[in-house]
């Protein structure tokens, strides 16, 4: 008999399961249903509720909890005898002694596991005197509340917060009948607000405050979609009612999220039905935007575009795609630009990911991926560099924590600030902002010559990290390519590639900033790329794409974006992007767009670009259209339409296709499926041999020791771009924008916690509140990214991160 499996008999049926599986899993594998309350597939067995009792022979002469009993060879399991049924019924009756039967009020009714059990066990009345607990509902934080009366103390919330999220915000308090669930450290539950305690709660004890009492679980329409907030691409179950998204939940245990979400996924959907949405096409007349019909808007666009094409030629027209929209949207826009307008001025704004992907492709031959998250988590050593993954890509961060703790992976954290990953790290060190590339380069070259001056890592840690990297069988290098990498993404990618070239078994995981950043690259939203990210200069690729589109493609790449804007730009079509607000030089960009005769902005919210656009078109969010996002691994995440488009808005691809049709090129698409097929057929990955050359990368020079601090731009967990600012459930948890300082620096500069400070650089200054925090290393000041009132870009438009700034008391 094989040693890998065990054979046992369940209710007279022989069943084979892998060694180590529990009796419960053995029963479930042949479809024998065993009622459970404290079991969650994401969690380790716990054995709290005693609902899953079975009779096991050989074994103790008493009922055994099947969830915690490992299946053994030759076991005989009886799951449904009279005594077992009696015990289960008894357990529920005892639970009902305290559990109020307020199902008509309760948000969990319909998905409540206790309610289902009561129904299955046919309990109509508890034989015991019911003693409802008399706790009031308690608000734990901005989005989570607990109803102690309904709690059955299964401990699932406590365990998921510990085992899966690694935050340990909840715990059991008091003992015996007085036990209740409460925040572990403080009265206020200051956690990551991921909502997984709400998700796992089998009854209506832990509740979502934004969702509370807004719909019953059986009334909502469910759609399996993908989270639009970052590049992890967690699968979401979008629940809507009467055309309004009421909540999102985790959907299944598959990759990449493995059944967990972060605050943005769980609470960040409320922007969809925000009142600030653009719901009508608008055309600017006399300096004011007027709502018009679709026909009038399309007329204005086609006449405008034809004028520009006739007088200035196709080179004067450009289109900007967006990592907030789907592959299909971007592909349609690209086809429109290249095949109908005849221009190769095709852009997208995620510079960090594009620079990273280009560098990696030039050196190693592959852009992002082809490694998956499971390979990341299976690596012997995980090296996190730069920004805090727990803030930028929370779900990947949670998985890394779990791998470090439970799977015995070594975790080396080399971030700029202290992070939640430090507690799980084998070794954690701080890298000076601006020296991340030099740090990686030093590990790759194995020498620490002069590195103490540039990387800001003390040489001892560096030697130790190099040692750990050298001795590990496989290494995963993980870094975020968000806004902090502006201007240095290529350097960091080169340094990481150096490490991959220096030794075998190194896998690189650049984490893209936004949901479809990788998609915009793969779809070819760049002046010199084609679908599949094949180079435009490749005649074969051009021929193939041109054949599919029925045109001869112009083989000359378009201009770089800034050259185009400053040069021949006469018309710009911007889809789902704020080119002004996100520009390195917003005022210059604004002036250039004002001078252009035609600017078309298609977005869901008004922004700096729509303010000066000549035509504004209402686009749609992830919930209102079908399509695909490409996540950081290159995995396609499917979007399913959950609600009809809000107001007069239309799916972005449809708007572009209609304009194309109005200009005489009907693509013939009536849904997104044919676009997906066409894109897939054209997306052959190019075979580009990497140069395989390591290029040494230097860090930025350490500024003179004149009392200035180095700026670290950090993305906060609850910031989710423009969409996040219009999601009330996310903005309530967003703390004030603060400048974080090390206590030593604060003392030297005589700044107290809560003072207002000036942060000034050569490029500008901001005034905001100071926070003294130990997580900031000395010599560094941390500013949040993407806060309206304190955008670091406003501070220094060129290279915000890693530059020296002067901090003084206001």
């Amino acid at each position: 008999m094989s040693t890998d499996t065990v054979t046992l008999t369940v209710d007279g049926i022989e069943v084979q399961v892998p060694r180590g599986a529990t009796v419960l899993q053995a029963c479930e594998s042949i479809g024998v249903e065993i009622p459970t309350l404290c079991t969650d597939p994401r969690l380790k067995p716990y054995g709290a509720c005693r609902m899953c009792v079975v009779e096991v022979q050989p074994g103790p002469p008493r009922p055994t909890a099947s969830c915690t009993t490992p299946a053994g060879d030759g076991m005989t399991v009886v799951t449904n005898s009279q005594s077992i049924r009696d015990i289960r019924k008894h357990v529920i009756e005892l639970q009902l002694q305290h559990h109020p039967l307020d199902c008509p009020y309760c948000d969990q009714a319909g998905t409540c596991e206790l309610q289902d059990e009561v129904f299955d066990q046919e309990i109509f009345q508890s034989p015991y005197e019911t003693v409802p607990k008399a706790h009031p509902e308690e608000i734990l934080n901005e989005v989570i509340l607990i109803n102690h009366n309904r709690c059955i103390l299964c401990g699932r919330c406590v365990r998921i917060c510990d085992e899966q999220i690694g935050v340990r915000a909840l715990d059991f308090v008091e003992r015996a009948v007085g036990t209740f669930i409460a925040p572990a450290q403080h009265e206020f539950m200051d956690c990551e607000r991921c909502g997984m305690c709400i998700e796992t709660c089998p009854v209506g004890a832990l509740l979502s405050r934004p969702f509370k009492h807004s719909a019953r679980s059986w009334q909502t329409e469910k759609a399996a979609s993908t989270c639009p907030h970052c590049a992890v691409g967690c699968s979401l179950l979008v629940e809507s009612r009467h055309g309004e998204v009421v909540r999102t939940r985790s959907n299944g245990l598959e990759e990449p999220d493995r059944g967990i979400l972060c605050a943005k996924g769980f609470f960040g959907h409320s922007f969809v039905n925000s009142e600030d949405r653009i719901t009508q096409p608008m055309v600017r007349r006399g300096g004011v935007l007027w709502p018009v019909s679709w026909r009038a808007a399309l007329d204005a666009i086609t006449t405008g575009l034809r004028d520009v094409l006739d007088t200035h030629g196709p080179g004067a027209v450009g289109v900007v795609g967006s990592p907030n929209t789907t592959n299909e949207d971007n592909y349609t826009l690209q086809r429109f630009a290249r095949a109908v307008l005849g221009t190769n001025n095709v852009y997208s704004q995620d510079s960090g990911l594009h620079a990273t992907a280009r560098t990696l492709r030039a050196v190693l031959g592959s852009d992002v991926g082809p490694h998956t998250q499971s390979e990341l988590l299976a690596s012997d050593l995980i090296l996190v560099v730069g920004a805090d993954i727990g803030q930028t890509h929370n779900v990947v961060g949670a998985h890394i924590k779990q791998a470090a703790r439970d799977a015995g992976r070594k975790l080396v954290v080399a971030t700029r600030l202290g992070s939640g990953l430090d507690d799980f790290a084998t070794l954690s060190a701080r890298v000076r902002p601006g020296a991340e590339a030099a740090f990686l380069n030093a590990i790759a070259s194995g020498s620490d010559d002069g590195i103490d001056a540039t990387a800001g890592v003390d040489t001892e840690s560096l030697a130790e990290i190099s040692q750990l990297v050298a001795s590990a069988g496989s290494v995963a290098v993980v870094w975020d390519t968000g806004v902090w990498t502006l201007g240095k993404a290529a350097k960091i990618a080169q340094a990481a590639a150096n490490l991959a070239l220096a030794r075998d078994g190194v896998k690189l995981f650049p984490l893209a900033e936004r949901a479809n950043s990788v998609g915009t690259f793969r779809v070819g939203m760049a002046p010199d790329l084609l679908p599949g990210a094949r180079p435009l200069t490749d005649a074969d690729a051009r021929g193939q794409v041109g054949e599919a589109w029925g045109v001869d493609l112009n083989g000359e790449p378009g201009l770089p974006f800034n050259d185009f804007v400053e040069g021949p730009m006469q018309a710009l079509y911007v889809m789902g992007e704020d080119v002004v607000g996100g520009a390195a030089n917003p005022s210059g960009m604004r002036a250039a767009l004002r001078d252009a005769p035609l600017v078309i902005a298609q977005d869901i919210f008004t922004n700096a670009t729509t303010e000066i656009a000549d035509v504004v078109l209402p686009g749609t969010t992830f919930a209102e259209k079908g399509g695909h996002y490409t996540n950081f691994e290159g995995r396609l995440g499917r979007l399913e339409q959950a609600i009809p488009p809000v107001g007069d808005s239309r799916p972005d691809w449809e708007i572009v296709a209609r304009i194309a049709a109005a200009m005489g090129a009907d693509f013939g698409w009536r849904s997104h499926e044919p676009i997906s097929e066409e894109l897939a057929s054209l997306s052959m990955p190019p075979s580009i041999p990497g140069s395989g050359q390591a290029v040494a990368v230097n860090g930025a020079h350490l500024p003179a020791d004149d009392g200035r601090l180095i700026l670290a731009t950090e993305q906060h967990l609850y910031t989710a771009g423009v969409a996040g600012r219009h999601a009330p459930s996310l903005t309530v948890m967003l703390p004030d924008a603060v400048a974080e300082l090390n206590p030593a620096d604060a003392e030297r500069l005589q700044i107290a916690h809560g003072d207002r400070v000036h942060v000034a650089s050569a490029g500008g200054e901001v005034n905001l509140k100071a926070m003294v925090a130990r997580r900031v290393p000395s010599g560094v000041v941390s500013l949040p990214d993407r806060f309206l009132e304190a955008a670091p870009r406003q501070l220094d438009p060129r290279t915000p991160d890693g530059t020296a700034v002067r901090v003084s008391k206001a």
Binding site: C103, H213, Q219
Partner: protein, 163 residues
């Protein structure tokens, strides 16, 4: 049959019909008596404590309704309880099956004998909770007749006392 008897027969029928009381009445000036078992518009009980709707917003009526007549929009009240923002009942779609009344866990929905559903506009057939309370309260006399006739079993149960 003698000649002319048919005329006499016809005359007799005519005289009989003209002397009979008419089956129709001049609604709305006159109303017909209705059976105490008449199935009329669904009404809503007024909550004795709050003075508003008894409805707790559980949405079971909406779920039970086969015809998409009812829509209950709820939100969170200041004290954390479920609050009914809007209770909408589209009489124009109702088939008077009373599944909603069966489903109601707090006996907020009640059968009435009301049939005064005439409006000059289809929009007038969409009524809200307040209107349903009004319908229920105007039906007091008919309800008393009914209770007299079918005994104490038909009495409205009090949810709060039932426990």
């Amino acid at each position: 049959m003698p000649l002319g008897s048919g005329v006499m027969k016809g005359l007799k029928t005519m005289l009989m019909v003209t002397s009979r009381k008419p089956a129709t009445v001049l609604y709305p000036e006159q109303l017909r008596d209705i059976s105490y078992r008449f199935r009329g518009q669904v009404g809503m009980r007024r909550d004795e404590v709050t003075g508003g709707m008894t409805c707790v917003g559980c949405g079971l009526c909406e779920t039970a309704c086969p015809n998409d007549v009812i829509r209950v929009d709820t939100s969170e009240n200041e004290d954390g309880t479920r609050f009914v923002d809007r209770y909408i009942f589209d009489v124009g779609r109702c088939v008077f099956c009373y599944f909603c009344i069966e489903a109601c866990p707090v006996d907020a929905l009640q059968r009435t004998h009301d049939f005064h559903l005439v409006t000059d506009d289809r929009r007038g057939l969409v009524i809200d909770g307040e209107k349903m309370i009004e319908i229920f309260e105007n039906d007091q006399a008919n309800r008393e007749v009914e209770q007299k006739n079918i005994g104490p079993g038909a009495a409205i149960a009090n949810w709060f006392e039932r426990g």
